[in-house]
Symmetry: C2
Amino acid sequence: MRGGKADLLRGTLDMLVLKTLSLQPMHGLGISRRIEQITGGVFQVQPGSLFPALHRLEQEGWIKGAWGESENNRRAKFYQLTAAGRRRLGEEKRNWAQVALAITKVMEAT
Amino acid sequence: MRGGKADLLRGTLDMLVLKTLSLQPMHGLGISRRIEQITGGVFQVQPGSLFPALHRLEQEGWIKGAWGESENNRRAKFYQLTAAGRRRLGEEKRNWAQVALAITKVMEAT
DNA sequence: TACCTCCTACAGAATATCTATACGAAGGAC
DNA sequence: GTCCTTCGTATAGATATTCTGTAGGAGGTA
């Protein structure tokens, strides 16, 4: 990712991808564009970060890819969440909530 | 860090340390205990993570250490924020707020 | 033909963190 | 005196994720 906030994102990319795919199946660049658009450009997911992540997620069995055609008649791999992926997303969400709360506590300490 | 949430924290350790030191000068293990206590054990900063981080921060000129005596008469290095460190903390805070907001946006997308 | 965009892919580097281990000194037990 | 625990700092080596840079095929257009 990019945008100067790169380092703060370690470990959240998986969650963001899973969440994005939970809305609808999508191909790689589509996911990337979606995330960038939603965050108003704060997150910019580079191909070199995204594809390794997708392969990792597929390896773990959380998403599943199938070749198809993009909106522009290009060969593209569409990914969708598996049942395990849906469970995983739930875990990551809970995790994130806990972490965000913990950080907030420290940052507000006096 | 530990507690299962380790990976979500990459990049936030510096900020947490700076914030902790902004309250009062402290030695390494003190910082570690402080963070663990405030977060109710959610974050557990291991010595092997903390000390390299402290050295990094000192290298950057954001904190400054001086040898002294701990509450238990042990030799300990007390760190305090520099002016640059205070500015840096401000940046990290704004950064974090922006990132947290961006993640929230993605996670709430429909 | 030439060129641009779309889409995927991988190699190599950078970097922060984790695990594990080490060491010195203080203090109490006995 | 000696043992053991706690305190406090330190480093080496492994791990893993992400970044940078590069590559290439395929479709569309002129």
